[in-house]
Symmetry: C2
Subunit: 95 residues, 2 copies
DNA sequence: TAGATATTTAGACAAATATCTAAATAAGAC
DNA sequence: GTCTTATTTAGATATTTGTCTAAATATCTA
């Protein structure tokens, strides 16, 4: 997994909001953009950062480019986060 | 919890390494710094960012300032991360 | 073909950030 | 009190980053 890319991607509030918005399901770039007050170009930049971190996947559908969450990454990422802290005495699982 | 501060703090690899280093237990600023090739001033800057995010706590002990992980934050933070992704374990459609 | 829509790419720019050196602060040793 | 050690703060600078406008690319429709 692309650790640094994922942490960096999540550091921006707009990108976290994009991920949140994708929780409801796949959405085109334009639909995602409706919720934000930035230009399509800026949005596209954020998509690129999220893609580079493997947090989202894309699929072209006609004129549209549809974005969806790469849900499998969450496990790796959450584990990575937990791994930054000492084991929390439960189930003796070591991080 | 200081969401943005925490995400931002973790975006830097040096700061993540500092947290890792603190897993072994509390440590003075100087001891932490032995593992890194940056000046004490730069290190101090990273400490400030981590403190602002409540990820570490400090305690002066004589000449030294001892840093320790604020372990309670991990739960909030992990939950926050998980919250960015769709609920898992029920519909878990992996694709 | 031309034109409209959807999205990305390129280039520029201001704000944020990581780093440094130098100076300041705090505590212990003499 | 003065010196030494530990750490932070202040100020400067180069890099990174988020945003914009303008242009390019891709697809659809007539």
């Amino acid at each position: 997994m692309k650790q640094q890319a994922a942490f960096r991607a999540l550091a921006d509030p707009t990108r976290r909001a994009i991920l949140k918005r994708l929780q409801g399901g796949a959405m085109s770039a334009g639909e995602i953009g409706e919720a934000f007050d930035i230009t399509p170009a800026s949005l596209s930049h954020h998509f690129a950062v999220l893609k580079q971190a493997d947090l989202v996947r894309t699929e072209r559908r006609g004129q549209f480019i549809v974005y969806s969450l790469n849900s499998t990454v969450v496990e790796d990422f959450a584990r990575m986060v937990l791994d930054l802290f000492p084991a929390k005495g439960k189930t003796g699982a070591k991080g």
